[in-house]
């Protein structure tokens, strides 16, 4: 068996790449992943990727922020140290709203983005796991696992028929590792 790990179909056009995905799937070739320089709408459905649940996380983080802000203000201004301002009630809810709103946004934004970074393994200094350096520039790359799909010549043909400008055989999974 050869040392080829991944077969990459490198397309110059997103529509041709989508066509390539269809072709491969019709022929029972499973797709490992697709790397593109921009988001491709409709690709998730093709590849059977479920809807992201990040919005649920965002809501939970947001509501935590609201509660945290309320708890903080309530503790400081109502329980711990009441400031007598002209005899006005210390539990002045309308005055609490601006900070409750700001902390909702703050918690929601940071919680959601950090969840996103964690779930997609993005963090400063992470070694980029890139299969084709042009996938962030002008190429739309379909990666096929060469061990699972052994009919290499068929895959090659399908990709080229669909309009792939180049078909690469990578012996290393990621070419960008140092």
């Amino acid at each position: 068996m050869s040392d080829i790990k991944y077969i990459l179909g490198s397309f110059g056009d997103p529509d041709e790449m989508m066509h390539g995905i269809e072709k491969l799937q019709e022929n029972g070739v499973s797709i490992y992943d697709v790397y593109t320089p921009m988001p491709i709408h409709g690709i998730e459905a093709k590849l059977g990727i479920k809807r992201s649940r990040i919005d649920i996380a965002a809501f939970c983080f947001g509501i935590t922020g609201t509660c945290a802000a309320f708890a903080l203000i309530y503790f400081c201004a109502v329980i711990d140290w009441k400031v007598n301002i002209g005899g006005k009630p210390s539990f002045a809810l309308p005055d609490f709203i601006p900070i409750m709103f700001e902390l909702t946004v703050l918690f929601c934004a940071f919680g959601m983005v950090l969840t996103y970074y964690a779930s997609t393994h993005l963090f400063p200094g992470r070694a980029p796991r890139v299969m084709d350096l042009r996938a962030t520039d002008d190429r739309f790359v379909i990666a096929v696992d060469a061990k699972d799909n052994t009919a290499h010549t068929v895959i090659d043909g399908l990709l080229k028929d669909a309009g792939a400008l180049e078909v690469k055989y990578n012996e290393r999974k990621y070419i960008s590792y140092e």
């Binding site: 110059g12 056009d13 997103p14 529509d15 992943d33 697709v34 790397y35 593109t36 320089p37 921009m38 988001p39 491709i40 709408h41 690709i43 998730e44 590849l47 990727i49 992201s52 990040i54 919005d55 203000i73 400081c76 201004a77 711990d80 140290w81 400031v83 301002i85 002045a92 005055d95 609490f96 601006p98 900070i99 709103f101 700001e102 902390l103 909702t104 946004v105 703050l106 929601c108 934004a109 940071f110 959601m112 983005v113 996103y116 779930s119 997609t120 393994h121 993005l122 963090f123 400063p124 200094g125 070694a127 980029p128 796991r129 350096l133 996938a135 962030t136 520039d137 002008d138 960008s176």
Partner: protein
């Protein structure tokens, strides 16, 4: 997206006839991947000198205290708060472009959002330095935070708009930074994959290991949309709270319920003007005419007319309400604004903010780069005067005529302000060199649907309504980056 044609009636968002995905990357990364030219160096040196002046003036203030400014017993807030509100306002356009226009699916935002967001961040940095330096004892700046302390756990006053403001500005800054940086990841990865050696290593660290896989992009879009959704009310709340610093006080001229919407409109107004000031120059110097087109400039000018008119109506409403309130102090505050010793600043504000932006109703002026650039600066001068008028003119004649005073800025006041402009431009020029000034990935999205060449192809296929095509070709006349002769044949 791709595969679906856009209506031919819409103006193209990318012009030029040989644009490919690779060319978009090359064009936008040109300033990042090459040595700076002379124009950049001149701009940078001038701005850096300004930033140096800022360092000197702020250090002088820290060392000697607020007494080094021209404040007096009557006018206790002057250029510092004017500068603060001015900068925060300028910052608002970035969030507006990146968040509000995203929610409204205005695709023209894609080529201006990146630099507008960068501008937001730098403007908020300038604003924040004013907040810290006007505290008098900046080393105690942490006192604005609700921290446990040794003074019998006396907390900050949560009823005070100044405390709300601290929460608002710091949330605004950090969320804007997060939004901007997350959007930058794919573009940093593009630079990384094209670079070699140390450059690649550095960009690699900052790219967080971005690969552009399907799931990453899918979640990226979800995250961007939600961030836009929460940033939209955030940006409105920030300037609302800034205006409450004034509106919740009982000073005649400040105690006005119209302040929140009026400040927000003013903020968008000045922010768009600053975006134009920066981008008209950047477009020319960096050769980005195909991406930041006359359509973008015209659209921004239209927003300036709208928000400028809202601000104009707000000025008149304030006057009417002062009269209608029947409160003689309120009435005097406004008569004094327009005819008192600071009449010139009031009329400067009126001319720059209300009258001159109306010139943009004329198509010729709206489409002239020179006129637009000059007007964008005029707007920002006007907006600075607006804050000066609200702050200094409302304070300088208080209830006892014996304490009436004038405000005269010292060299420190002037230097902090001029220096903050230098700091802003220094940061912006550095940004242009190290990060892409246009969101590469987002512009690529438009190539197959909203570019001039895609529309040209649509016309050539011949399925389009002739009238619509004629209208489209006519709309192209305003573009300075379109070769008109290509359309003469059709």
């Amino acid at each position: 997206m791709s595969g679906h044609n856009e209506s031919i009636l819409r103006e193209p968002l990318i012009t030029g006839d040989n644009i490919t995905y690779a060319k978009i990357t090359d064009d936008i990364l040109m300033p990042v991947e090459n040595k700076p030219n002379k124009a950049w160096w001149i701009g940078f040196i001038v701005s850096a000198l300004g930033a140096l002046l800022w360092v000197v003036a702020v250090s002088y203030t820290f060392w000697n205290g607020i007494g080094s400014w021209g404040l007096n017993k009557t006018v206790g807030w002057a250029w510092d708060i004017t500068g603060f509100v001015w900068w925060v306002g300028i910052g608002h356009a970035g969030t507006l472009i990146s968040a509000v226009l995203l929610l409204f699916r205005q695709n023209w935002r894609n080529s201006i959002n990146r630099s507008a967001e960068a501008m937001t961040i730098f403007a908020v940095i300038c604003a924040a330095t004013y907040v810290v330096s006007h505290m008098g004892r900046p080393w105690l700046a942490y006192w604005v935070l609700p921290l446990p302390n040794q003074f019998g756990s006396l907390w900050v006053n949560f009823n005070s708009p100044l405390v709300w403001d601290m929460f608002a500005i710091s949330t605004y800054f950090s969320v804007s930074l997060l939004f901007w940086y997350t959007g930058l990841l794919p573009d940093i990865a593009t630079i990384r994959d094209r670079a070699v050696g140390t450059r690649r290593k550095i960009y690699s660290i900052f790219s967080f290991g971005w690969t552009g896989s399907v799931k990453t992009w899918q979640r990226f879009e979800a995250v961007s949309l939600i961030l836009a959704g929460i940033s939209t009310p955030l940006v409105l709340s920030v300037h609302t709270i800034v205006s409450m610093d004034f509106a919740t006080s009982v000073i005649p001229g400040w105690h006005t319920t119209i302040f929140p919407p009026y400040f927000v409109a003013g903020a968008i107004f000045s922010g768009f003007a600053m975006v134009l000031t920066l981008l008209l120059v950047a477009r020319k110097v960096l050769g980005l005419e195909n991406y930041i087109t006359m359509f973008h400039i015209e659209s921004m000018n239209k927003i300036i007319i709208l928000t400028g008119s809202i601000v104009g109506v707000a000025y008149l409403t304030e006057f009417f309400i002062a009269w209608y309130s029947g409160s003689e102090y309120e009435q005097y505050a406004f008569i004094n604004r327009s005819t008192g010793p600071y009449w010139w600043s009031y009329w400067m504000m009126m001319t720059c903010n209300v009258i001159s932006p109306q010139l943009l109703w004329f198509k010729k002026i709206r489409l002239s780069i020179k006129a637009t650039w000059i007007l964008s600066i005029v707007v920002n001068v006007g907006m600075w005067f607006e804050r000066f008028v609200i702050i200094v003119t409302s304070l300088h004649r208080d209830y006892i005529p014996s304490s009436w005073a004038m405000f005269y800025p010292t060299w420190v006041d002037v230097s902090v302000f001029v220096g903050s402009i230098g700091l802003f431009f220094t940061l912006f020029l550095l940004f242009l060199r190290v990060l892409p000034s246009i969101a590469i990935a987002e512009v690529k999205l438009l190539l197959k649907s909203a570019s001039e060449q895609a529309k040209m192809k649509q016309i050539k296929e011949g399925h389009e309504n002739k009238e619509y095509v004629a209208e489209y070709v006519e709309s192209l006349q305003k573009f300075d980056s379109v070769k008109q002769e290509d359309y003469a044949k059709i």
